[in-house]
């Protein structure tokens, strides 16, 4: 395999609040290849969004990256001054947020916002900027892109706004796009359209994409590889289909079994008991152990990542993994 475009090692991001230190991201490592779509799944509080924000240097106080390394094409990003990060953001790293209602500026036309995003990184004529804007808007499936440039965000539907946000992220052909729950706020029919378009764009442009979602089915439809996060750590990773077909970590198994599609209608779902732990007071050892049916005394010690082939899991008592 060629050198990864993005390489994250032992990333630790904590929030230093009055209530204590919240260990939002607690030692996350992964590599991302050019043109790859990596899914990150987990429930709220698992640290999946904070991981994404950390990559772009967007963690605000009281949070901060405590340790670890993020390398973009070999360049270390952790510790880089804000001015240099700002130069990278939008050009080599871009982000798409969950809520398309709040990410666009309501008082600027779409064309103006796109022009500003281009101007931030290079000098181009108004005409060239317009041409580039039209190109990306067409690419994300916005019909009649030319006339839509003068429209304001409120004149777009939710799905169209999210397309605009994706178009803005694509503007400068970044190496990596981080998309945080980009289709969660959208209806299924619009989500299906966007998933199909994004897959095509990634294939055409060779951009690497990190797709953060709580929805296993969406991730399985778009990502070739997946990280499953729980309480700030990656508990399992590997090729998406293999992980979902035969999970090794009991948490992944529990998530899958919680899906209504997994049980006959009207039958009881196999639920995970309890609830995710507070990040300020994580259980000793494996954070999942208080909810885990396989846990025993050994789990009081934090398990390390076991790597076999393309897959890895962090568990003392992994499942057999037969499909």
């Amino acid at each position: 395999m060629s050198a990864p475009i993005l390489s994250v090692r032992d990333l630790v991001t904590h929030f230093f609040t009055r209530a204590g230190v919240l260990k939002a991201v607690d030692g996350v490592s992964f590599d991302l290849q050019t043109g790859e779509i990596l899914g990150v799944v987990g429930e709220s509080g698992s640290g999946k969004s904070v991981t994404g924000y950390s990559l772009l240097g967007l963690v605000d106080p009281p949070g901060r990256i405590v340790s670890g390394s993020i390398k973009l094409a070999g360049q270390e990003l952790v510790g880089l001054p804000q001015s240099e990060l700002r130069e990278l953001r939008g050009r080599r790293l871009a982000m798409v947020f969950q809520d398309p209602m709040t990410t666009l500026n309501p008082v600027l036309s779409i064309g103006t916002q796109i022009k500003l995003a281009i101007d931030a990184h290079e000098r181009v004529s108004g005409k060239a900027a317009r041409a580039r804007a039209m190109d990306v808007l067409t690419r994300v499936g916005i019909p009649d892109a030319g006339s839509r440039l003068d429209a304001y965000p409120h004149q777009f539907s939710g799905g169209m706004r999210q397309r605009v946000a994706i178009a803005v992220a694509l503007l400068n052909r970044p190496d990596v796009i981080v998309a945080d729950e980009p289709t969660t706020a959208l209806d299924v029919s619009i989500q299906a359209q966007i998933l199909a378009e994004v897959k095509m764009i990634v294939r055409d442009l060779g951009t690497a994409l990190i797709w953060i979602s709580h929805d296993l089915a969406v991730v399985s439809a778009i990502a070739s590889r997946v990280l499953v996060m729980y309480a700030g750590r990656v508990v399992e990773h590997g090729p998406t289909a293999a992980v979902l077909r035969a999970p090794r970590h009991p948490y992944t198994q529990g998530l899958l079994n919680s899906l209504p599609a997994r049980a006959a209608p009207g039958e009881e779902l196999a639920q995970i008991p309890g609830q995710p732990p507070s990040l300020a007071a994580l259980p000793v050892g494996c954070a999942f152990s208080p909810r885990c049916p396989r846990a025993d005394a050994v789990c009081k010690e934090a398990p390390s990542m076991t790597a076999v082939g393309l897959r890895g899991w962090r568990c003392h008592h992994p499942l057999e993994g037969h499909a």
Partner: protein, 334 residues
């Protein structure tokens, strides 16, 4: 159906845009002022049998929540009636009011639907005391019983909503609704704001309570998988109208209306084979504005089979199978 328990008869709800004084004067003087109104629900008829769970699915803006609120009696319809066991839910007259406690509602957001300044015990006891189901003295024991039933420790009665997680709050909201001893419960996206593992816990609770209390439920959700799991029958809504209704199994396995087919095809499925590319057949276009819905069949703009009559005539509900109905010109009566 002869065994109808909840009867929704040709119910409609319009929301009118507030018209300025100037426009009203202009209209009174005979000027052509556009009076804009959203027909959130447009002539919907439904029956729910006793003990049945009816799932109501559709995308945002299709009117499913508005319909649910009218069935629950917290929003008066502009036209049509809702009755439970033959008894109308709303009183008549210019200012209709809910006149039964036989139907209760559970809302989507347990952060917004519980009063943050009331103790859990008081929240659950308020309705039963006001409607004299229990006396003030009996209330604590009564509340404790319901809290236990929804899987909470009765001691939580002394606490406030902010001390609970989303899943626990939804349990409290369920206890509050059920403490009114309703026959019918309308649930509006009750698990949409919950994480997958918590969602499974709450769905299991619904299934358990439904069995124990033989509840009749209207279960509203945009999540087709969740609706499939809990419902006996499913109604699919599009832009204020029901386009298909039938037994859940039949509608999911053998959808008839082009919209239902397209909607089901849009739902991402778990892909478990390597190298299998998930294929989507997304519905073209977007939901038209409910301010100016297209004439005829509301779906015709996005329907690949639409023909001339679809643009002109509103299709009527027709029987397409055993207890299975759909409103599409292109379907033949079974």
């Amino acid at each position: 159906m002869s065994d109808a328990f909840v009867t929704v008869n040709a119910i409609s709800r319009r929301f009118e845009q507030r018209v300025s004084l100037g426009d009203r004067i202009a209209a009174a003087l005979g000027s052509d002022v556009e009076m804009r109104a959203v027909r959130a629900v447009d002539g919907v008829s439904l029956q729910v049998a006793r003990g049945e769970v009816l799932g109501l699915v559709g995308e945002s803006g299709c009117g499913k929540s508005t319909l649910g609120r009218m069935i629950a009696g917290i929003l008066p319809p502009t036209a049509g009636t809702v009755a439970i066991g033959g008894e109308p839910v709303m009183s008549k007259g210019p200012h209709p009011r809910k006149r039964t406690t036989r139907v209760q509602m559970i809302f989507q957001d347990p952060y917004a639907s519980l009063d943050p300044r009331m103790r859990i015990g008081d929240t659950v006891a308020e309705g039963p005391i006001a409607h004299r189901l229990v006396t003030k003295a009996e209330a604590p024991a009564y509340v404790a019983g319901w809290l236990r039933r929804v899987g909470l420790d009765p001691d939580v009665a002394q606490r406030y909503p902010h001390q609970f997680s989303g899943g626990q709050r939804q349990r409290i909201a369920i206890a509050r609704a059920l403490a009114m001893q309703p026959d019918v419960v309308v649930c509006d996206e009750p698990v949409a704001s919950l994480d997958v593992s918590i969602q499974a816990q709450v769905l299991n609770l619904f299934l358990k309570l439904r069995r124990e209390l033989r509840l009749t439920m209207v279960f509203i959700s945009h999540h087709l998988g969740v609706v499939r799991h809990v419902s006996d029958r499913v109604a699919v809504m599009y832009l204020g109208r029901i386009v298909e209704v039938g037994p859940a199994e039949t509608v999911y396995a053998n959808p008839q209306h082009p919209y239902t087919k397209a909607l089901l095809a849009s739902v991402p499925q778990l892909v478990l084979q390597d190298d299998v590319v998930a294929v989507f057949k997304p519905i073209q276009g977007e939901l038209p504005s409910p301010l100016s819905p297209p004439p005829g069949c509301h779906f015709h703009l996005r329907c690949e089979f639409a023909e001339a009559r679809c643009r002109a005539q509103v299709p009527a509900m027709r029987r397409v199978g055993e207890r299975h109905e759909s409103a599409c010109h292109l379907l033949r009566e079974a």
